[in-house]
């Protein structure tokens, strides 16, 4: 199977080179003809405008054809994305490209010639004749085989080189210019910046909700219990008063727990004191289902990366417990060269919505650090949240 696909890919490359050689000839002819046609037209301003326009559209069409050839036959995925180059750049490209195309055609022609020679020799020898009076002695066969092998190697190297050259020329003349790249980067940064602000606001809203709908309600309820206890006491019902006080006492302890949890959700203080490994161990301990943690990062990553990784894990674990009804969770944190990879996988029901509030916030946080964020969660499970964070 693998061999077959390699054969298909090679055949495509050869076909692409052949087509490239043909278009090189066509381009050369076209450019020459265009020059001949255009030269007299330049004298007439009205005709000049029209013929320039015509030439530009032809040049663009040729360049587009080459771009498709690179993508379709050479598997150049970058070429697929080249956009917005004008006729000037396209013309420069065509002017530089045609020798490369001819070079590819030349190497292919050598191949054909070599293959024909070998075929003729073998055919003559098999039918008992001597081509050019050369007998098939072992010495001759060895010498020819070595020569063929050598030529074949050079030819294949040449073809690979031409393919690479084609790609480079296309990237240089049709691909994004440094200014384009900068503009794209700026657009991306603006987007992630806006996303970060939105994520921060969403987090603040969540904290406000946590305080109001959790802690404040409990405090009001505590006040009510104490108020009722006092009224019972004042009314002379000591038993009820004592019972209410006991309830109030228990409630005050629960409020403390809740407050600790809210503070922890705002920012886990253990990250600063203990580091990511221990903070993740804490997440695993607090989870109501078995969670295994494999932490394999030699040195401490930068603080923003640590925080993002922690929140990703924390949210993913919460989701797995709450929505996926998972029975076990695995957390794996590794680092290869300059990238830290965090994977949280569970055996739950899957079908997680990456557009959910929690996951969206995390994706934004990761994007702001130039990281990559993916949720793989087919319906029926399992779910994996995978994050790659650059630690420059």
């Amino acid at each position: 199977m693998r061999i077959w696909s390699a054969v298909v890919a090679s055949a495509r490359l050869v076909w692409g080179l052949a087509v490239g050689a043909l278009t090189a000839v066509a381009t050369l002819a076209g450019l020459a003809a265009g020059g001949i046609v255009l030269a007299p037209a330049l004298a007439w301003p009205s005709a000049r405008e029209a013929s320039m326009h015509r030439l530009a559209s032809i040049v663009l069409r040729l360049a587009e054809f080459e771009r498709h050839r690179l993508y379709r036959l050479f598997g150049d995925t970058e070429a697929k994305t080249y956009r917005g180059y004008g006729p000037e750049r396209a013309l420069a490209y065509l002017g530089v490209r045609w020798p490369v195309g001819l070079l590819g055609g030349g190497i292919l022609a050598l191949f054909v010639w070599g293959a024909a020679t070998v075929t003729v020799f073998v055919w003559y020898w098999l039918t008992g004749r001597y081509p050019d009076n050369i007998p098939p002695s072992p010495w001759i066969i060895t010498y020819l085989s070595v020569a063929c092998g050598f030529a074949l190697f050079l030819g294949v190297q040449g073809l690979i080189g031409v393919v690479r050259l084609e790609r480079n020329v296309a990237r240089r003349f049709l691909g994004p210019t440094p200014a384009d790249l900068l503009r794209m980067r700026i657009e991306q940064l603006s987007a992630t910046r806006a996303d970060v602000v939105a994520a921060v606001d969403a987090e603040r809203r969540r904290i406000e909700r946590d305080l109001h709908d959790g802690v404040q309600q409990r405090l009001v309820a505590l006040g009510m219990l104490l108020g009722r206890a006092r009224r019972s006491g004042a009314a002379g019902d000591e038993v009820k008063s004592a019972d209410l006080l006991a309830q109030a006492h228990a409630e005050s302890r629960e409020i403390l727990d809740e407050l600790r949890e809210v503070a922890w959700r705002v920012y886990p203080a253990a990250l600063d004191t203990l580091g990511l490994r221990d903070a993740l161990a804490g997440v695993a301990e607090r989870a109501p289902i078995p969670v295994t943690v494999r932490y394999d990062v030699p040195e401490t990553p930068p603080a923003p990366v640590v925080t993002a990784a922690y929140f990703v894990v924390s949210e993913a674990v919460t989701n797995a417990v709450k929505h996926a009804s998972a029975s076990r969770i695995e957390i794996v944190v590794t680092r290869e060269r300059r990238t830290m990879t965090v994977r949280v996988s569970d055996d739950g029901g899957g079908g997680a919505d990456p557009g959910g509030a929690g996951l969206t916030g995390l994706a934004r946080r990761v994007a702001a650090l130039d990281g990559r964020f993916a949720v793989i969660s087919p319906v029926g499970g399992p779910t994996e949240v995978r994050v790659m964070l650059p630690c420059a």
């Binding site: 404040q216 309600q217 409990r218 405090l219 309820a221 009510m224 108020g227 009722r228």
Partner: protein
Amino acid sequence: MRVIIAEDSALLRDGLRRLLVDEGYTVVDAVGDGAALVESVSRHVPDLVVADVRMPPTHSDEGLRAAVEIRRRWPSIGVLMLSQYVEQRYAVDLLTGHGTRVGYLLKDRVADVGEFLEALARVGAGGTAFDPEVVRQLLRRTTHTDPLTRLTGRERDVLDAMAQGHNNASIAARLHVSQSAVEKHVRSIFDKLGLADAEGYSRRVLAVLRYLGE
């Protein structure tokens, strides 16, 4: 007194229910969101509703919208709103509808059991109850409008208590003065604010608060 409680926090809902039962109210239902509240009111038609402003699904003003609807369809039902914050707009909205049988308290006030029960009783008796903090903020907002600055400190105290929904006897008790002294202060306040003296204290409160709220 038959009461319906609408509050999304189960803990608080339960606490309120117990408190009201302790005090001899009949709690006919306790619900957790605005839609359920209107539905429950149409089924039971209670005397009083105690409702949180902020409830699911959006946690913005479901309770208030339910209250406005209840007041429109069953004007005889008293409504006491509980709010997380002082929302002056809400207070003014509630007042400008029909200024009786409404109350607007800060949620934290529930913890002052005595004050909360007193406010509830006032609304139940056909009066009004506004949180002292709400009134204070409304007053503070209008200090730049001159008529109020012409009031004496005592008169401001009286207005403050009046705006909360206390009647003259209650104001007299609170400020430790005679009732006739309170009546004198009230007349003076209305003179200074240029309001015609009308019968019925809730309408007067309404007039004052509307004046303050605009």
